[in-house]
């Protein structure tokens, strides 16, 4: 079989099961793709040298009768997931040579599910950024057009799945860091409900906003992946204690009769191309039987301001441990963006300013949440574009942090409210992909998959060759 690295998780599992190819073959195909394209795309910080051996073990275990949900599937991890014995850098010079003493809970779960870790992917250092340009190890390029950014901060994970260097990838989403790069690279990106997936062992950016998700080629794969990663972790007190459903159940139930809201505040100020693309999404869902309604989320316009206070405050505290004493290099190794965020967050928490900034932002946070709660009383889910513009060229916003921050305008409110968001590809603008996001109430991932899957099935999937 040719180009097996282009397959989805579901197709790969089937192919291995049917004996068309082995995990070894699949892993080899991905590694070949990495070898061929990574020098140009720069999606990887480190490739796991033992991946092929592990794939061989997976094949042996399969022959011995082992049945695991991701047995032998090669995946990649954003390089802020702690991997015992495998360098983890956060794409920062501070952790350039750091080898973790333990595995993140999600890493453990993925390994226990039989996944093969191909390597660690590039990102905006400390997950600070929307373009992937802010890596101390060089930017990741958009495989659809290498003059353009792939979106960030999970840039390497998005690009590696888009370019079929891996079957799936993990990411983190604090203000849009999964959904934005997913929509820029024609991949499916899930930002789960805050507290659905353990944060233990994942380098913290903003603890009350960080959400641990993934990139896949299809919506169904996203559900398969979440079946492995979701659930309570005794090491993370903020994880849910509820029983986790099978996210594949009802995934094919369609959208007939579902009420889907489109918030006014999200469609003003879109670029004309995005606007046109989003109209097509609405039309398609409507044709599939959903009932599209206009709604209002009045505090949306305060999202970015609220987010940049809470996020930077927590960043300033979470990055305090990097003092170069117990591991890593000292604080002079932080890049400009980390310095900006630490200073801004230290300022908003400092005596005399705490009430006016941090506390104010936490009150506005309540209002943003209430906007969503009220909306979900009348509708089942919300759809919006992910980015107000198509991907931009390298360097366009690099010297203007505020402009960069504003590119998250449509995604940060999801994190502020702690609800889930699923970014689904919705076609191309020229040669560059774009996507839309489906938002639902807390723990409504099943519904998001159901809607996303129905939409995806109505589209033709474009695959990057090579």
């Amino acid at each position: 079989m040719n180009n097996i690295n282009q397959l989805s998780i579901k197709q790969s599992l089937q192919g291995i099961k049917d004996g068309h190819f082995s995990s070894y073959d699949l892993t080899k195909a991905c590694l070949n793709q990495i070898e061929k394209f990574n020098p140009e795309i720069n999606a990887f910080i480190i490739v796991n040298k033992k991946a092929l051996d592990e794939a061989q073990d997976a094949d042996d275990n399969r022959s011995a009768g082992e049945k695991l949900p991701l047995l032998g599937i090669p995946i990649v991890l954003k390089d802020i997931f702690m991997t015992k014995g495998l360098r983890t850098t956060a794409a920062s010079n501070v952790l350039k040579d750091y080898i973790p003493q333990y595995d993140a809970t999600v890493v453990k779960k993925l390994k226990d599910a039989g996944a093969i870790i191909l390597g660690k992917t590039n990102l905006d250092a400390w997950a600070h950024g929307s373009s992937g340009e802010n890596s101390d190890f060089g930017p990741t390029k958009n495989p659809w057009n290498t003059d353009y950014v792939p979106g960030g901060s999970s840039s390497g994970s998005a690009s590696s799945v888009a370019l079929n260097m891996a079957i799936a990838a993990t990411g983190t989403d604090t203000g849009g860091s999964i959904r934005l790069p997913a929509s820029f690279t024609n991949t499916v990106g899930l930002k789960p409900t805050y507290g659905l997936v353990s944060r233990y062992g994942i380098i913290a950016m903003a603890s009350s906003l960080d959400s641990i998700g993934h990139f896949t080629k299809t919506v169904e794969d996203s559900a398969i992946f979440l079946n492995v990663t979701a659930g309570h972790d005794p090491m993370d007190t903020t994880t849910t204690q509820e029983k986790i459903p099978n996210y594949l159940d009802e995934i094919n139930d369609g959208v007939k009769g579902l009420k889907i809201g489109v918030p006014n505040e999200y469609i003003n100020g879109l670029s004309p191309e995005i606007s046109k693309n989003f109209e097509a999404v609405k039309k398609q869902l409507s044709e599939l039987g959903a009932e599209i309604q206009e709604i209002s989320l009045p505090h949306t316009q305060y999202g970015i301001a609220c987010y940049y206070i809470i996020q930077t405050s927590e960043v300033s505290s979470n990055l305090a441990r990097y003092d170069g004493i117990r591991y890593g290099n000292d604080r002079t190794h932080f890049g400009d963006e980390a310095v900006r965020r630490i200073i801004l967050g230290t300022f908003t928490l400092s005596s005399g300013y705490y009430e006016a900034y941090y506390k104010k932002a936490m009150r506005v946070r309540t209002l943003v949440r209430e906007d969503f709660e009220k909306a979900f009383e009348k509708i089942d889910a919300i759809i919006t574009p992910v980015s107000p513009t198509p991907p931009w060229k390298f360097g366009e916003k690099a010297d203007d942090p505020l402009a960069m921050y504003l590119s998250d305008a449509l995604t940060v409110t999801t994190n502020i409210a702690g609800i889930p968001g699923l970014a689904v590809p919705s076609g191309f603008i020229g040669d560059l992909p774009t996507g839309f996001q489906i938002l639902g109430p807390q723990f409504s991932e099943k519904l998001l998959f159901q809607i996303g899957n129905a939409f995806e099935k109505s589209q033709e999937r474009r695959v990057l060759g090579g």
Binding site: Y98, I99, Q101, Y194, G195, S208, P234, T237, T238, T240, Q241, H299, Q301, Y302, I304, A305, C306, Y308, I309, S316, A320, D323, I325, R326, Y327, G328, R331, T332, F334, D336, V339, R340, I342, I343, L344, T346, F347, T348, S350, Y353, A356, Y357, K359, K360, A361, M362, R363, V364, R365, T366, L367, R369, P401, L402, Y405, A417, G418, Q442
Partner: protein, 94 residues
Amino acid sequence: MKIDVKHVAKLANLKVKDSDLPKFEKQLNEIVGYIEKLNEVDTEGVEITSQVTGLENVTRDDKSTESLTQEEALSGSNKTHNGLFKVPAILDNE
């Protein structure tokens, strides 16, 4: 409101080069100007949200388990001495 970058950097244990100060001041004050947009919002009587899970009293029982070995604990640093981390002398009256 303007950020005193030098003072805040000191609080944050960061050394910002004097030559970088104007750049950071400009960028940060622009951002602070933007986030002050929140002043428009009437938050009278609105509760704060510091967490979104609604969880409470998540604790564990008082049982100990194995720790990292000394070698593992020290593995991230090349500045150690006799099983301890080493830093330049900290004087109490600095």
